[in-house]
Symmetry: C2
Subunit: 115 residues, 2 copies
């Protein structure tokens, strides 16, 4: 059965910030929905590129050489090994594409976001 | 240099329907922007899954066991080998994720869309 997923619908169901819910998979990559507010910790993923596709709100991806501000319909690929620290003043909702869940393992997820 | 891409901005620049513009790459997959109107031909991709992320408009993905209607913020993964035939009454704009350009090689692109 091939079914669509409402990314914005899933994003509104999420209870935790900076946590990722897998909604699909293809060609070795997972499609993951997340929401953010405040800031993660600075971190990088040594083994995978991480792609953000913005759904709602504004996300500022801090990089060591400057910030990139993402709004709805924007895409940003963060190559493996590149340090980054996303933050949002309000609430930002986005799709992530990559082979694994990254928020828990890589140290980016802030302590306050855990249950 | 890590730069964001406005997917909707690129979609509005496209001159051809059912043609794909690569805007990024990560983990062996390409991020491709396309627009559609009318219908493609029925086709499948034997070697890759194809993921649609809708940006604007409505796209009806015809499958052999029924249609799936996609609106903004919807995601649909079409597993490799599954026959499909997207169509749009108006103009639909979307992101595709997969390891290669699929429109030209797989026979889905209709003759009228070529220059």
């Amino acid at each position: 059965m091939i079914e669509k997923v409402s990314l914005t619908g899933v994003a509104h169901e999420l209870e935790e910030f900076w946590s990722q819910r897998v909604v699909g998979a293809g060609n070795g990559n997972l499609f993951k929905v997340a929401k953010g507010t405040g800031s993660t910790n600075w971190h990088s993923h040594h083994d995978q590129d991480e792609t953000f596709v913005m759904l709602e709100g504004t996300l500022i991806v801090q990089l060591r050489d400057g910030d990139v501000e993402l709004g709805p319909g924007d895409l940003l690929v963060i190559p493996r090994g590149v340090e980054h620290c996303p933050k949002a003043e309000g609430e930002a909702r986005f799709l992530l594409v990559g082979p694994e869940i990254t928020s828990n393992a890589a140290g980016g997820r802030p302590d306050w976001s855990r249950r």
